[in-house]
C-alpha cells in the first residue's frame, strides 16, 4: 500500500478548474518530483494535500487514513507537512524558536523535548550557529534551510517541498539538493517536490509526475518523462514535439 495516495483530486476556483481529477501515489521512502509549466496546478495540489485548501472533490489518504477534509493544523499533526515557495519564517521568533513551534506538534511521532528536537533539526539543516538569530538576518538560502528545518521539526512522514531549490545560487542549490536527499536517506521522510530547476528534480526524483492545465499528463522515471512527446509539447509547444520525436 502506498504511504500517501490522492484519488481524483479536483479543485475549482469559480469557473477555473485549477486541478482536474489528479491521482497520485507516493511510496514509503520515495522522492516524487512534480513538474509542469506555470499555472499547471502544482501548488494547488500541495494546498489540497496539506489541507490549506479543501478539495472540490477527491480524497487524500495517509497510510490508509483519510486526511482530506481536515484543517491544515490537523493534517500536519497526522504527518504531512508543506513548505512554501516564498519562505514564511516567523520574523518575531528566533531561528530556534521557529523550529520549536513546529516541534511542539511533532511530539506524537518523535519523543523528547520540543526545544531539543528543534535544536537537532537545526543542526541537521546546517543552522546550528544561527539558532539565536532572527530570520531577517539570514540569506535566502538560510531562510530556505529554516523553512526545511521547521517542516522537519514537525516529525513528518511526508514532506511537500514547493520550489526549495529555485532562486538560490548554483552552489547553494547543490547543497540544498544534497540536504533533500539526506532528508529521505537519513530521516526516512518521503518527499514530494515541486521544482523548476531540472537538474535538481531529475537527479533527486525516483519518479516524476507532470501536470499541465490541472491534469496529469505523464508519470514515470525522470528519463522516460523528458522523452514523452506530451511533456515536450506542454513545455515547448507543438512544433517542438513534432520536430523532435
Amino acid at each position: 500500500m502506498p504511504l500517501l495516495s490522492a484519488r481524483a483530486l479536483s479543485k475549482s476556483f469559480g469557473g477555473l478548474r485549477a486541478l482536474d481529477s489528479v491521482d497520485l501515489e507516493l511510496a514509503e521512502g520515495e522522492i516524487l518530483g512534480v513538474i509542469g509549466p506555470n499555472g499547471a496546478g502544482k501548488t494547488t495540489l500541495f494546498s489540497l494535500i496539506a489541507g490549506s485548501l479543501a478539495p472540490t472533490s477527491g480524497e487524500v489518504f495517509l497510510d490508509g487514513a483519510r486526511v482530506s477534509g481536515l484543517p491544515a493544523h490537523r493534517v500536519v499533526r497526522s504527518g504531512i507537512v508543506r513548505t512554501h515557495q516564498i519562505v514564511r519564517p516567523f520574523p518575531n521568533l528566533t531561528v530556534l524558536e521557529n523550529a520549536t513551534v513546529a516541534a511542539i506538534h511533532g511530539a506524537r511521532r518523535a519523543p523528547g523535548h520540543a526545544r531539543e528536537r528543534a535544536a537537532e533539526v537545526l543542526a541537521f539543516a546546517g543552522l546550528a550557529d544561527r539558532a539565536g538569530h532572527y530570520p531577517g538576518v539570514l540569506t535566502l538560502a538560510g531562510r530556505k534551510r529554516l523553512e526545511l528545518a521547521r517542516a522537519l521539526a514537525t516529525a513528518p512522514r511526508v514532506l511537500l517541498l514547493d520550489e526549495v531549490v529555485a532562486g538560490v545560487n548554483p552552489s547553494e542549490a547543490m547543497a540544498l539538493a544534497a540536504l533533500i536527499r539526506r532528508i529521505r536517506d537519513e530521516r526516512r521522510v518521503s518527499v514530494i517536490m515541486i521544482e523548476h530547476v531540472m537538474p535538481a528534480v531529475m537527479s533527486l526524483s525516483d519518479r516524476v509526475t507532470v501536470l499541465d492545465h490541472g491534469k496529469k499528463i505523464a508519470e514515470g522515471t525522470p528519463s522516460d518523462v523528458v522523452r514523452d512527446p506530451g511533456v515536450v509539447e506542454a513545455y515547448l509547444g507543438r512544433g517542438h514535439a513534432e520536430a523532435n520525436p
Partner: protein, 328 residues
C-alpha cells in the same frame, strides 16, 4: 553544538518579583498611606491586572480588542448580583464573575476568524451590543440606574491586597505564557496565521483559549471594581471608554511586552487622576497626543523607550531587529 536554554523562570527574575510583591504588600503599613493614596493604589492594581490580561490577546496574539469592557461588565454585574444575594463570600463572587466573563468571551468566537483592523471593528460592535443588552436588561443590571452594593469600608480597605494578589497572579501568568510553548504558538499566530497552521498550530483553539482567559481576568477585575465602588451602572461598566482604556494602557506601556502594560496602566491612572479633576478637556487630548507619538516613534511604548535608553547607557549594540512583540 552548545545551546543554552533560558530557564522558564530565571531565579533572579523570580526573586525580584517576590521582593516587589512583598514591598507593595507592606507599603500601607510602612508608609502609613493616607486613605486617598491607599485607594488610588488599589484602583491602579485593578487597572494593571486588566491591562496585562488585555495584552494576552492584543499583544501576544496581536488581535487588538476594542470590546474588553463587555467582559469587565459581565464580571462586575455577576459578582455584584452574587454579593447582593449574599450567597457567597466576596472572593468567590469575584471568581464566579470572572468565570462568567470567560464563558461570555467565548461568544466572540465567530469574530476570531477576522484579523487586524477587521477583528478590532467587530469587537467594537460586540462591546456596544453587550452594553445595550445589559442596559435594557433592567432586572439584572438595574438599567441606567445601576446597582448599589452594601457599603463595606473594611472590605474596601482590604481590596488593596486582593488587588495586589490579582496583579501578582496575572503578571506571573503573563511571564509564563510568554515564555512557554503556548506563548511561542501565540507569537507564531501573530506573525503569520497560515504559516502557523502549516506547522500544526490551531489558531482557532488558541485564540478562543486566550480570549476566554483574558476575558476571565478582566471579569474578575470588574468584580473587584464593583466591590470597590459599591455602585455600578451598565453605561459605565460596559462603556466604550473603558474598552479604549485597556488599549491605551497597553499601547502606552508597550503592546506585546510582558510587563509594559502594567507601566502603561500606572501612567494612565495617575494622569487621569490628576488631570481629570483640574483639566477635564486636556486629558483626552493628552492621551491622543501620547498615542500618536507612540505609534509613530516607539511601537513598544514606554518599555521600548526604556530599553533604548538602557542600551544607550550600557553602550550595547542593538540586537538583531525583531518585530514588535519579540522584546520584553
Amino acid at each position: 553544538m552548545t545551546l543554552r536554554w533560558p530557564a522558564l523562570v530565571p531565579p533572579r527574575a523570580a526573586g525580584a518579583f517576590a521582593a516587589a510583591v512583598a514591598a507593595l504588600a507592606a507599603l500601607p503599613a510602612l508608609l502609613d498611606l493616607s486613605a486617598y493614596t491607599h485607594n488610588l493604589v488599589t484602583l491602579t492594581f485593578l487597572m494593571v491586572a486588566g491591562a496585562l490580561a488585555w495584552n494576552w490577546m492584543g499583544g501576544f496574539v496581536g488581535q487588538v480588542s476594542f470590546g474588553h469592557a463587555a467582559m469587565f461588565g459581565v464580571g462586575g454585574f455577576v459578582a455584584a448580583r452574587l454579593l447582593l444575594a449574599g450567597a457567597v463570600p466576596a472572593p468567590i463572587a469575584w471568581l464566579l464573575g470572572g468565570a462568567a466573563a470567560g464563558v461570555f468571551a467565548l461568544g466572540a468566537h465567530p469574530t476570531l476568524r477576522l484579523r487586524g483592523p477587521y477583528f478590532s471593528i467587530a469587537t467594537i460592535g460586540l462591546g456596544e451590543a453587550t452594553r445595550l443588552l445589559f442596559t435594557y436588561w433592567e432586572d439584572f443590571t438595574g438599567g441606567s440606574s445601576g446597582l448599589s452594593l452594601p457599603i463595606d469600608p473594611d472590605l474596601k480597605f482590604r481590596l488593596y491586597w486582593w488587588g495586589l494578589a490579582l496583579v501578582a497572579l496575572v503578571a506571573a501568568a503573563s511571564f509564563l505564557i510568554r515564555r512557554s510553548a503556548l506563548g511561542l504558538q501565540l507569537l507564531a499566530i501573530k506573525a503569520d496565521v497560515d504559516a502557523a497552521a502549516d506547522v500544526g498550530v490551531s489558531a482557532t483553539f488558541h485564540q478562543d483559549l486566550v480570549f476566554a482567559l483574558s476575558g476571565a481576568v478582566v471579569g474578575v477585575t470588574g468584580g473587584l471594581w464593583a466591590s470597590y465602588f459599591s455602585f455600578i451602572e451598565p453605561n459605565d461598566m460596559f462603556g466604550f471608554d473603558r474598552s479604549i482604556g485597556f488599549v491605551l494602557m497597553a499601547v502606552i506601556g508597550g503592546v506585546g511586552t510582558v510587563l509594559g502594560p502594567a507601566l502603561g496602566a500606572v501612567i494612565f491612572v495617575l494622569l487621569r487622576q490628576y488631570l481629570l479633576a483640574s483639566y477635564p478637556q486636556l486629558y483626552l487630548g493628552l492621551y491622543g497626543t501620547l498615542l500618536v507619538l507612540i505609534i509613530l516613534f516607539e511601537p513598544l511604548g514606554l518599555t521600548g523607550l526604556l530599553l533604548r535608553l538602557w542600551r544607550r547607557a550600557a553602550r550595547r549594540p542593538e540586537p538583531a531587529p525583531a518585530a514588535a512583540g519579540g522584546g520584553r
